[in-house]
């Protein structure tokens, strides 16, 4: 069973042209057990993306460390799949070749690759689009492919950095259900960064709220909604209570963040 331990993790960006250094993330502690779905919620500039990028190995911490199964994370690796907010499919590869990218890098034989790709094409509902280029897909379909591409590697953690931020509301709702469905079936550790309160509650088992400038964890709110969840749960009293509570938490931070600018 995988476990992610974040110990005293901090990140300070050096000042630009003699300016003051920016503290993006104050020393932070967090432990995420296997199969946990943690959403990280906060206003822009609270360091939530920085936290995720350090876990992915794309950025280096100034202090502290991140341990995955007792091993310190130093650089990116296939055990941590990532889905970005911007569309990062390789435009010269078809949908199926994009999904197979990590498998090819592992040196997996073509036949085995084909089976895995086909199963994920099916899971994210992209049947019939295997041979399409990313340019020919809608934003929602591109992000589905990106999720499939990250999952095909069978990572220990799936990291998502506002993956549905650029999608319209209806598509976003469908994508949340799709992701949640996959997680309910596959049980994987998921870290999901968002600034959308409803999204954070709907998909998460725990919501970590962060405060801005300097970024730090403000509270951890468990979401005790039953699984499997459907979109109708968004109108339940328990959901509304959580939304009201988190709205208050985030609102005060957003006001502070706004003043700091």
């Amino acid at each position: 069973m995988s476990e992610l331990v974040i110990e005293g993790l901090g990140r300070t960006f050096p000042g630009v042209k003699g300016g003051k250094p920016t503290v993006a993330l104050q020393p932070t502690n967090l432990t995420v057990p296997a199969n946990d779905f943690v959403t990280i919620l906060g206003p822009s500039g609270c360091g939530k993306s920085t936290l995720l990028r350090i876990i992915a190995g794309l950025d280096q911490p100034t202090t502290g460390r991140v341990m995955l199964d007792g091993v310190e994370i130093k650089r990116p690796g296939p055990d941590r799949g990532m889905v970005f907010q911007s569309y990062t499919l390789f435009p010269w590869l078809t949908v199926e070749d994009n999904i197979a990218f990590g498998l090819r890098e592992k040196g997996m034989p073509a036949a085995q690759r084909r089976d895995i790709v086909a199963s994920y094409i099916d899971k994210v509902g992209l049947k019939g689009f295997e041979k399409h280029w990313p340019k020919q897909l809608s934003g929602g379909m591109q992000q589905r492919t990106a999720i499939a591409r990250a999952l095909a590697n069978d990572p220990k953690i799936l990291l998502l950095d506002e993956p549905f931020g650029a999608l319209d509301n209806q598509t976003r709702g469908l994508m949340q259900e799709l992701l949640l469905g996959i997680w309910e079936r596959e049980s994987k550790m998921v870290l999901f960064v968002t600034h959308d309160i409803e999204e954070a509650i709907f998909v998460g088992s725990r919501v970590v709220t962060m405060s801005a400038r300097p970024g730090r964890i403000k509270s951890i709110v468990p979401v005790d909604l039953p699984h499997p969840r459907e979109y109708t749960i968004k109108s339940s009293p328990e959901f509304s209570r959580l939304r009201a509570h988190l709205t208050e938490e985030i609102r005060s931070e957003a006001i502070l963040a706004d003043k700091a600018h």
Binding site: A56, G57, L58, R75, P76, G77, P78, R80, G81, M82, F84, S86, T88, F90, P91, W92, L93, F101, G102, R104, E105, K106, W133, K135, Q136, R149, A150, N153, L159
Partner: protein, 258 residues
Amino acid sequence: MIRPFQPVQPQARAMLGIGFFVLFVGVWSIFTFGGYVPRHFLVDPVTMLGDGWYLLTQRNFLYDIGMTVWRVVGGFTIAAAIGVPIGIAMGTYKPIEALLEPFVSFARYLPASAFVPLLILWAGIGEAQKLSVIFLGVFFQIVLMVAGSVAATRRDLVEAAYTLGASDSGVVRRVLLPSSAPDIAEILRLVLGWAWTYVIVAELIGASSGIGYMIINSQALMATGQIIFGIIVIGLIGLISDFLFKSVNRWLFAWRFA
């Protein structure tokens, strides 16, 4: 009504493109047949075609064209074969860029035509000298432009590849190269056009064959019709090679035009 970026029908596009050639020849005809320009300065289109026919049938001009095409393709291919890998290395690895970029930027401004006397001294008046002029003219441009295109690879694609488990060499082979390949092809198409300028410069001095050699010979004979025919032949070959290059690029990089 012309409005910004409004597309034009394929038929109208072809008509407009051909129309301008017709207009060009028309204006030329008015000036020459109308007697506004003396014949020994500028011949009329019909005389030019006659001179061209004479060159092709009596003076074995096809051999000259063949020689010039061979030199352009040869010099350009050598420059591309060495320049593209160096450009990719510069765009990928910052220490290599730091080492070579200042020198290449300097060398890029050295006029290849000014090297002709030196190259004759070093390489004689044979084919090596012709290829060297073209090489000098295009090599540094290729290196710099390829380096720029590789360096401009989207960072988020590189990061995505790393999170999928790609090694450093995997990122070069499977992200940097395919992502900048269409740009590199475009760069080569552009630079091939410049190679045509340098081949004529090389053939104007110390050559015994080629389109440039014919042009400098015709100057001595005041045969302006032949000179213009030679220039137009170069233009036509350029047009054809450009078209071929574009078609191959569209076929190779279909994902860009999807």
